[in-house]
C-alpha cells in the first residue's frame, strides 16, 4: 500500500505536490508532470466544488473538484437538494478493496 492509500485509511486526503511549480501533482506520482521535479506529499484542502452528480439505487455519486482542479469521484450524503457548483465538504475518506472512497456532504 502506498502513502496515498495508507493516509486515506486514516481519513487523511493527501496528494503529491511540486514545490517548484507550486501545484498538486494528480494523479499521485513520484515526479511532477510539468518539470519532472521530485514531488512531496501535501494535505489536500477538504472543501470541494460539485461538478456533476447522478444516483444509483438512491445513492448519490459525483465528480467533485478540490484545490488546483483536482477532481475525484465520490459519494454525497445528507443532501436533500444539490446544485452544480455548490460547495462540498469531504467528511470521510478511506481505501477499501483497492479503491479510494470519498464521502462528501453539502455545505449549505
Amino acid at each position: 500500500m502506498n502513502k496515498f492509500e495508507q493516509e486515506l485509511k486514516n481519513n487523511n486526503f493527501v496528494c503529491t505536490f511540486c514545490t517548484h511549480c507550486n501545484k498538486l501533482v494528480w494523479p499521485i506520482s513520484d515526479f511532477c508532470n510539468q518539470c519532472f521535479g521530485m514531488a512531496i506529499w501535501k494535505k489536500v484542502n477538504r472543501t470541494a466544488k460539485l461538478i456533476e452528480f447522478s444516483r444509483k439505487d438512491g445513492e448519490i455519486f459525483c465528480i467533485s473538484e478540490f484545490e488546483d482542479g483536482l477532481r475525484i469521484m465520490g459519494n454525497i450524503i445528507n443532501a436533500p437538494n444539490l446544485q452544480i457548483g455548490q460547495s462540498l465538504n469531504l467528511v470521510k475518506c478511506d481505501y477499501e478493496n483497492g479503491h479510494a472512497v470519498f464521502i462528501l456532504e453539502p455545505i449549505y
Partner: protein, 369 residues
C-alpha cells in the same frame, strides 16, 4: 508518402462463447483469406494484433498458426480504441515503405481485463463505465434538455440496424418503451442503453497502392487519420457535454483528408452508451451542439442508415480489441457497395470514430472509395 488502402476483411460472429482468444483471431484470419483473391501468406510483411487480453506473444502465435512468417509481429493495446490504433500502426508501416501489406487482427473475450481501468484512482469506488456514462448523460440533459426518451432512440435505431448485420450480437428490434423500461442501472442509464461486452474478432489487410490491386478490384483508401489522447484518468475530462479527444481527432482527420463532415456519406460512431452517439454527432459536426438527439430521432423516423449501419456497439456487441476493426470493415464494405441490406446508396466517403476510457482518447479515420 504512398497511398494506403484496405484490401480485404474478415469477421467472426460477435457472441458469448468459450473459444480461446487465439481461436477467435485465427477464425477472423481464415475469413479474410477465404474472401480474398490471390492472397498468400508470403504477401504479408507485418502482423499486428489488437487486444486487451493477457495472453502474450499473440501476433507471433497467430502468424505461426496462419503459416505467415512476417518481418514484424506485435500487439497493440489501447483499451476500447485498440482496433483503430492497430490500423493506424499498419498505415504507418505501409506509408513509410517499411511494409507493403499488414494484417491487423483484433479480438476480445467478454471477460477481458480491459473493461475497467483500475489505475484510475480518481474514479474512487465508481470504477465501472456506467458511472462516467451517467456523468456525461446528466451534464447533457441539464445543459441541452436532452431526455431519457431521446437517448432511447439511439438504442432503438442501432438495434434495428443490427438486424441486417449477420455478425451482430443482438438481432432483435426493441421499441422505445422496451428500452425505457429495461433494467435501470443508474437514474439515467438503462441496460439497453449500453453496449454489451462479448467475444469476437475482426481482421483487415492494409496494403500499399502498388500492391493492393493484386488483392481486390475495389480498394478503399485511408485518406484521413486523427488521434488524440487527453489523459488516462476520466476526471481529466474538463467538459462533460462534449468529448475533447473526439473534436481534436476529427479535426486532424478532416484536415489530412481535405474533407469536411458534410462530405461524409456514412459513419461508424463509438456508441458505448446511447449518450455517446449523441455527443459524438455534435462534436463531429453532424449536428449542432444540443441537437444530436434530434438528429438521431430523424435517422430513426426515416430509417436512414447513415450513422452506425451495422448497429453500432449497442447492436453489434463490443469485443473491445475487435470493435474499431469491425467499425472500419463496415465502412470498407459500404464504400465497396457490398453492405447488402445495410447499404447506404452511393456512399463514397466514410468515417470511423473509435475511443477509449470515457473518451480520454479517440481515433477518427476517413475512408474513400
Amino acid at each position: 508518402m504512398r497511398k494506403v488502402g484496405i484490401a480485404a476483411s474478415g469477421l467472426t460472429e460477435f457472441s458469448k462463447n468459450d473459444l480461446p482468444i487465439d481461436t477467435l483471431m485465427l477464425s477472423a484470419v481464415k475469413s479474410l483469406f477465404d474472401e480474398s483473391q490471390n492472397l498468400s501468406q508470403k504477401d504479408i510483411d507485418v502482423v499486428i494484433t489488437s487486444t486487451n487480453d493477457n495472453n502474450k506473444y499473440l501476433a507471433n502465435i497467430i502468424s505461426e498458426l496462419s503459416g505467415i512468417s512476417p518481418k514484424s509481429a506485435h500487439a497493440i493495446e489501447s483499451l476500447c480504441n485498440s482496433g483503430t490504433s492497430g490500423i493506424v500502426s499498419a498505415y504507418s508501416y505501409v506509408a513509410s515503405g517499411l511494409a507493403d501489406s499488414v494484417l491487423v487482427i483484433g479480438a476480445e473475450k467478454s471477460n477481458n481485463p480491459g473493461l475497467v481501468l483500475e489505475w484510475d484512482k480518481s474514479r474512487g469506488q465508481y470504477t465501472h463505465p456506467i458511472y462516467w456514462s451517467s456523468m456525461f448523460t446528466n451534464a447533457h440533459m441539464r445543459k441541452y434538455g436532452t431526455t431519457l426518451e431521446d437517448i432511447a432512440y439511439v438504442s432503438a435505431k442501432n438495434h434495428r440496424n443490427a438486424i441486417n448485420n449477420p455478425y451482430a450480437f443482438f438481432k432483435k428490434e426493441f421499441t422505445i418503451d422496451e428500452i425505457m423500461k429495461s433494467k435501470p442501472l443508474t437514474e439515467n442509464l438503462r441496460l439497453y442503453d449500453c453496449s454489451m461486452p462479448c467475444d469476437g474478432a475482426a481482421a483487415v489487410l492494409v496494403s500499399a497502392e502498388n500492391t493492393i490491386k493484386k488483392f481486390t478490384d475495389s480498394p478503399v483508401w485511408i485518406s484521413g487519420i486523427g488521434q488524440k489522447s487527453i489523459s488516462a484518468g476520466f476526471t481529466k475530462n474538463e467538459e462533460l457535454t462534449s468529448m475533447s479527444s473526439v473534436i481534436q481527432s476529427a479535426s486532424s482527420a478532416c484536415q489530412m483528408a481535405k474533407k469536411t463532415i458534410s462530405d461524409i456519406d456514412v459513419a461508424e460512431l463509438h456508441d458505448a452508451f446511447g449518450i455517446c452517439e449523441i455527443i459524438e454527432l455534435e462534436d463531429l459536426g453532424f449536428a449542432p451542439k444540443g441537437k444530436g438527439s434530434t438528429y438521431v430521432k430523424n435517422l430513426y423516423d426515416t430509417d436512414d442508415k447513415k450513422i452506425n449501419p451495422r448497429g453500432g456497439l449497442i447492436g453489434s456487441g463490443h469485443p473491445l480489441g475487435a470493435t474499431g476493426i469491425a467499425q472500419t470493415i463496415e465502412i470498407f464494405q459500404q464504400l465497396q457497395g457490398k453492405a447488402n441490406k445495410r447499404q447506404v446508396e452511393g456512399a463514397k466517403t466514410g468515417l470511423v470514430q473509435n475511443m477509449s476510457a470515457a473518451a480520454t482518447s479517440s481515433t477518427v479515420l476517413i475512408l474513400e472509395s
